[in-house]
């Protein structure tokens, strides 16, 4: 594990060098560190940002060094506090971290060509039929590796290897909210109207990001996710029932 400055007001706790060789272990380790840091009352800590192999810690250098008053030691002091918080000193720590085992969340997706603009591109690249792509994508189990890029954008690990498809050379200027895409070896969901270069294979009627709610996202880092194929009729019905809520 290493702790590296990300500017003067943030740092990166890198828990692994690689992700793809052992994704499940890397995610578990990131989540463990993320949850321990959330609970540790480290002075000056503002917020955390977990990713594939790391947890970034955003901090206020002034609040960190209020403890001892010198600028020279702010980083070292914080790094020491972080190491203390995440080194598993007792069994209790481990049990508490493991107690948050996430449940399985089902995301309904309509894979019709009307929403899956790039199904043909993925089919061409993977040499699979569109039916096989849908079958494969909706039977796999995924985990939320991190959320970023735009508010609520969900990066999911666990895409079946034979579905991996390179990103589009020219990104789309506007992608409809709810679009499910494949970008390289990853799959993910666009929560908002945004530009993007992933291959779109379907769309979910679920609202993944709502800034009026706290927490604002449906999915959280570490969540287990499965996609369920739905018909266009179900997609429409789902949208209507949401409007009537």
């Amino acid at each position: 594990m290493e702790i590296i400055p990300l500017g003067d007001s943030a740092l990166i706790v890198r828990v692994r060098e690689q992700f793809e060789d052992a994704p499940e272990e890397a995610l578990e380790e990131v989540l463990r560190v993320f949850q321990l840091l959330q609970r540790a009352a480290i002075p000056g800590l503002i917020e955390l940002a977990p990713a594939y192999t790391s947890v970034a810690v955003f901090f206020n250098p002034i609040a960190v060094s209020k403890g001892n008053g010198t600028a020279n030691e702010a980083f070292d002091e914080l790094a020491a506090g972080i190491r203390d918080a995440i080194i598993p000193t007792s069994r209790r720590h481990r049990r508490r971290a493991a107690a948050r085992a996430p449940g399985l969340i089902e995301i309904p997706v309509c894979y019709d060509a009307e929403f899956g603009f790039d199904l043909d591109r993925v089919a061409e690249h993977t040499k699979l039929s569109e039916r096989e792509i849908v079958e494969l994508h909706s039977t796999g189990e995924y985990r939320v590796a991190c959320i970023g890029f735009v508010p609520g954008f969900t990066f999911l690990a666990g895409l079946p290897k034979n579905l991996a498809t390179p990103r589009r050379d020219v990104p789309r200027k506007e992608i409809p909210p709810g679009s499910v895409g494949i970008g390289g070896a990853q799959t993910g969901i666009y929560p908002l109207r945004s530009p993007g270069g992933w291959n779109l294979i379907g769309r979910t009627p679920l609202k993944l990001f709502d800034p009026t709610k706290d927490p604002p996202t449906l999915l959280h880092p570490g969540d287990r996710v499965r996609f369920r194929a739905i018909t266009r009729k179900e997609f429409v019905a789902f949208g209507e029932s949401r409007l009537n809520q």
């Binding site: 990300l6 002034i62 959320i147 990066f155």
Partner: protein
């Protein structure tokens, strides 16, 4: 009471000191790109430092007030007028019902921050009033201001300010009120991926001048100039980026990230502009030439602490002016 946006200008948005605590959900900081400028302007008008104000990009804003307010602004070198009187940066003015405040185009710099006594009263979304222009929430309906918008203002705690009957003679320190420079220099500390760049790239980064591209916005400043190539071209695993991070995409043209930047990125990070210089970074506009100078992390922290101490003195000074 309200202020009426008679002209919204190129890009004006409601911003406070930004949104924290939701980065794990992909929510960026947003907020005034020069947080010191907004804090100083707020202190000048008697607001809390973190009250919501307006960030004005390249000028063009025109506001009409419907009641008595105290205003102050800090930032680039803009020509600002109240009717026919000039309001320079860092001064305090008392406006009457019907007065118009006008921001012309900036001579130097790109942005400025206007504080109005009482603050701008928009709903707090995820802990902040800042506009998230990519997520389309916060501020006024998550968007930039439009002609004809009504800005709801908070309650104005009437106080006997030095600006009774006009524009104050005293001002905020010049470097805070007017941080823009025709020859901007930015100090940086080494980035997470500094060692992935070869000697040529490092020499170019630290000795050449870069030109601000017109393709820049609140997410980031794109820089043209000598290309920065990496030693190895392997793909990196995405991890957090922060305002101030300078990342280098495969084109070799660096991007200096600002307050609206994404939370996670996959490009190598060559350097990070230090917090006390982010206000200078916020003034970069297309065509500007910018140079980068290395400092240590300890120096970055020391500079930030010194500035906070100076701001504390200023805060006391302002409260004495008002008493």
């Amino acid at each position: 009471m309200n202020a009426v946006v008679t002209r919204a200008g190129f890009l004006t948005s409601v911003q406070d000191l930004g949104r924290t605590g939701f980065r794990q959900f992909g929510v960026s900081t947003s907020g005034a790109l020069d947080s010191l400028a907004l804090r100083v302007a707020n202190l000048l008008v008697g607001n809390e430092e973190g009250s919501a104000g307006l960030e004005i990009t390249l000028g063009g804003l025109q506001l009409r007030f419907e009641d008595e307010r105290i205003v102050a602004w800090c930032g680039g070198e803009f020509d600002v007028q109240i009717g026919s009187r000039a309001l320079p940066a860092g001064h305090v003015a008392r406006l009457q019902d019907g007065d118009e405040l006008k921001f012309a185009r900036a001579q130097t710099g790109c942005r400025c921050w206007l504080a109005i006594s009482g603050g701008i009263d928009v709903p707090v979304i995820l802990g902040s009033r800042s506009t998230d222009l990519r997520g389309n929430f916060g501020g006024i309906e998550g968007r930039k201001l439009r002609d004809g918008d009504q800005l709801s203002l908070g309650e104005f705690r009437r106080s006997e300010t030095a600006a009774t009957g006009g524009i104050s003679s005293w001002t905020a320190p010049h470097d805070w009120a007017s941080p823009a420079s025709p020859h901007p220099n930015l100090r940086f500390i080494r980035g997470v991926d500094w060692n992935r760049f070869n000697d040529v790239a490092i020499e170019r980064f630290t000795h050449h001048k870069f030109t601000v591209s017109s393709d820049s916005d609140r997410m980031g400043v794109r820089l043209d100039g000598a290309e920065l190539k990496r030693e190895d071209e392997t793909d990196l695993i995405s991890e957090a980026v922060a305002p101030g991070t300078i990342q280098v995409p495969p084109s070799g043209k660096p991007i200096l990230l600002l307050g609206d930047c994404q939370t996670i990125g996959g490009y190598p990070k060559i350097a990070h502009v230090i917090t006390v210089d982010l206000g200078i970074a916020a003034q970069l506009r297309a065509g500007d030439g910018v140079r980068f100078f290395e400092v240590s992390l300890q120096d970055a922290h020391r500079l930030l602490m010194e500035r906070e101490r100076d701001l504390e003195r200023f805060r006391i000074g302002v409260s004495l002016q008002r008493s």
